[in-house]
């Protein structure tokens, strides 16, 4: 005897298979995100464009500016003759920083007096501004020290002091090269599974509602829960395939290795899947058109898993009320589990609480979805 559940799943599979465009996208989309993030996205601020106004043109001012052109953090895009030109560059955003060296710069330095330089910063992007201002300060400080050193060379030899007084030895754990792709992969897995699992599931179920074909199924002898599970099985398969695709692709393209247990990873992803699909069904029961379903799914699933999961933005840095909100976002726990497995190579004892939450979320959302699904159909 053939189960009606399997018949529904089969019908759904056939529909997806006929829809070539969707299939391509389901597999190209995760790869595109992985590659964009892997190659394109760098969080470090580099090659900040600067415009220089050197009013001094002495050996010292040239030395000082030289340090900027040698630094990997800056690129001098223009040497200008007037303050107006410098201002225009910053206004138009072609330069983020303007450096003004006053006429008496070299003279004051060689006569052991303090010289002042002016740094003009485009503060619009406050994050980049803060970081690049830090780089400017350290170049200025290093140049200052080097001048001081040459003037005190004799002094140093007499005192026998070794410099610098303190030296820091940074040890970076889990991701020693600070490669962003290593920490991005777990996040991409969580987000892609959400997009496929929730957005696609919601839109597909609502489509049957919109087109009225769901009525035909309701009038058939199939049970409600069979209908629901039959409909979500294909999407479960697609979302899980995408997860595997990202794991494999990130290994072969970017060499991202799994330090922990692969089996645990596979299980964790499987558990996460049910909450994701349940959310999709739930959204399909509260919307009536595909358009509304997609917007709701994006807001309820995609945005929180990008912004509130710690995927890009660390949770501890968020304002407290938002930290509380992140507690109900399943992606948060999933990303934590994935990072523990991927980067830290930890075992289940480090994240069993997160595992329990994910299972719990899946059960609650699935139950709610099943109840509402039944009600909206009857």
């Amino acid at each position: 005897m053939r189960s009606p559940l399997l018949a529904i799943a089969k019908k759904e599979f056939i529909q997806i298979r006929r829809d070539r465009a969707t299939i391509y996208m389901v597999f190209i989309f995760p790869l595109m995100m992985l590659i964009l993030y892997g190659f394109g996205i760098r969080y470090d601020v580099k090659l900040v464009p600067i415009t220089v106004l050197d009013q001094d043109r002495s050996a010292e001012s040239r030395q000082y500016i030289e340090r900027f052109s040698r630094s990997p953090y800056f690129q001098i895009i223009r040497n200008v003759q007037s303050y107006d030109e410098l201002q225009a560059d910053i206004d138009r955003g072609t330069a983020r920083i303007g450096i003004v060296v006053p006429p008496n710069f070299g003279e004051r330095l060689s006569s052991n007096r303090e010289a002042t330089i002016q740094v003009i910063v485009d503060g619009a992007d406050s994050n980049t501004a803060t970081i690049s201002l830090g780089y400017v300060s350290s170049i200025t400080r290093e140049y200052s020290t080097s001048i001081m050193m040459t003037q005190m060379e004799g002094l140093l030899r007499r005192t026998n002091l070794s410099l610098p007084p303190i030296e820091v030895e940074p040890r970076i754990w889990f991701n020693p090269d600070l490669k962003s792709v290593n920490f991005i992969v777990p996040g991409i897995i969580a987000v892609i599974m959400m997009i496929i699992g929730t957005v696609l599931t919601a839109v597909t179920i609502v489509k049957e509602k919109e087109q009225g074909t769901i009525e035909q199924m309701v009038s058939s002898p199939i049970k409600r829960y069979e209908l629901m599970i039959g409909k979500i099985i294909p999407f479960a398969a697609l979302a899980y395939l995408d997860f595997l695709l990202i794991v494999v692709a990130s290994y072969f393209i970017f060499g991202v290795e799994i330090k922990g247990s692969i089996v645990v990873l596979l299980i964790a992803a499987f558990l996460y899947l049910w909450g994701v699909l349940g959310l999709g069904v739930l959204i399909s029961t509260i919307t009536n058109t595909q358009m509304a379903a997609m917007l709701t799914a994006i807001i309820a699933s995609m945005l929180p898993s990008i912004l509130l999961s710690g995927f890009i933005f660390p949770i501890q840095q968020m304002p407290y009320p938002l930290q509380v909100v992140t507690m109900i976002v399943p992606a948060r726990y999933f990303v934590e589990i994935l990072r523990d497995i991927y980067l830290k190579g930890l075992g289940i004892e480090a994240f069993w609480q997160e595992m329990i939450y994910i299972v719990l979320f899946g059960v609650v959302v699935m139950t709610a979805a099943a109840r509402r699904f039944k009600k909206t159909l009857d």
């Binding site: 829809d19 465009a21 389901v26 989309f29 595109m32 964009l36 190659f39 394109g40 760098r42 969080y43 601020v45 580099k46 206004d91 004051r108 052991n112 303090e114 002042t116 330089i117 002016q118 740094v119 003009i120 910063v121 485009d122 503060g123 619009a124 992007d125 803060t130 201002l133 400017v136 350290s138 003037q151 005190m152 026998n160 002091l161 410099l163 610098p164 007084p165 303190i166 940074p170 040890r171 970076i172 889990f174 991701n175 600070l178 962003s180 290593n182 920490f183 696609l200 489509k207 509260i286 595909q290 358009m291 509304a292 807001i299 912004l307 509130l308 890009i312 660390p314 501890q316 938002l322």
Partner: protein, 375 residues
Amino acid sequence: MYKRTLEIIRKEFIQISRDSGLKRMVVITPILQLLLFGYVVATEIRSLRMFVLDRSHSEESRRLVERFVASGYFVIVGHTDNLDQVTNAINRDQALLGLVIPTDYAENVRRGVTAKIQLLVDGSNSNTATIALGYAGGVIAAENNDLMKANFRQRGFRLIEAGIKQEERIWFNPSLRAINYTVPGIVCLLLMEMMVPLTAFSIVKERERGTIEQLMVTPIHAGEMLLGKTLPYVLIGLFDATLIVTVGTFWFGVPIVGSVLAMYAYMTLFLSVSLGLGILIATIVATQQQAALTAQFALVPNILLSGFMFPIESMPAPVQAITHILPMRYILVIMRGVIMKGLSLAQLWDQALALAVLGTIVFSISWYRFRKVFG
């Protein structure tokens, strides 16, 4: 002629007004997004959690730790004498950094021999780790400077205090508030995120249900139909943009320096590019499902590579080249220019021109395809 277009607009609005889910999202989406981005993206990285392993137990070591706290970037979450405890704290995400001060620290500092300290950093979030290392470097540099001076003074030498003073002027956003930069960005993001899928959906919907045939047999022209189907969404887009700007101004206190009228003019220009993209998608897909995925496909690069979150100049050169075809790249410069810097068209003409050229190209292609598919 106008009447026919108006009829289509009326029909579209009736359909929208019957879709309670959609109406809800048109209002909720922008506000929720602004709040999320405003509070998540626009927060600075501060109070990084540090675990201290001080084996020196000296005045010198306490001074160093104190210096980390005083910088405002670090909070001490625990002290210990056991390295395992530091490792544990980092493993379990209780601390991001571990500061290890060795037994001979104070002695070395007093004798003027370079003292070595260790900084353990959880690198799993490379972004936060980089920033934390940068802040720590600043703290150490300041301590070094003080120690050096003190050492010289102790030995009876006077330092030559020459050197360079740095005078900083921060323009456009003197208090360096991140939200000021985020709000103009979200306006652009939302316009694209809503407009591309909504226009694509509204057209594909008719095709999927077969109602497009009914429209085609009426005397309406393709142009009138296109105008009638997209205009409602332009209005929704402008409504949402207004909502964000209003909430941004009154809730987050983001000032608008430039002309509001100019802002709307640029937004309309950008909207038409987004509409063009939506129409283009509608002509190449058959179902709303495909439209949803294709729209996401088009949106992701516009979010990640346009300079919305990360500065373009720091990206690798090939990626920088790609960014030139992203409409979002230009509107971001324009909106931030108008809202934060008060720039005029004279200063923004090249960005506006690029956007207009992109819009013309996208619209020509989509119009050509639309005529072919729906003509």
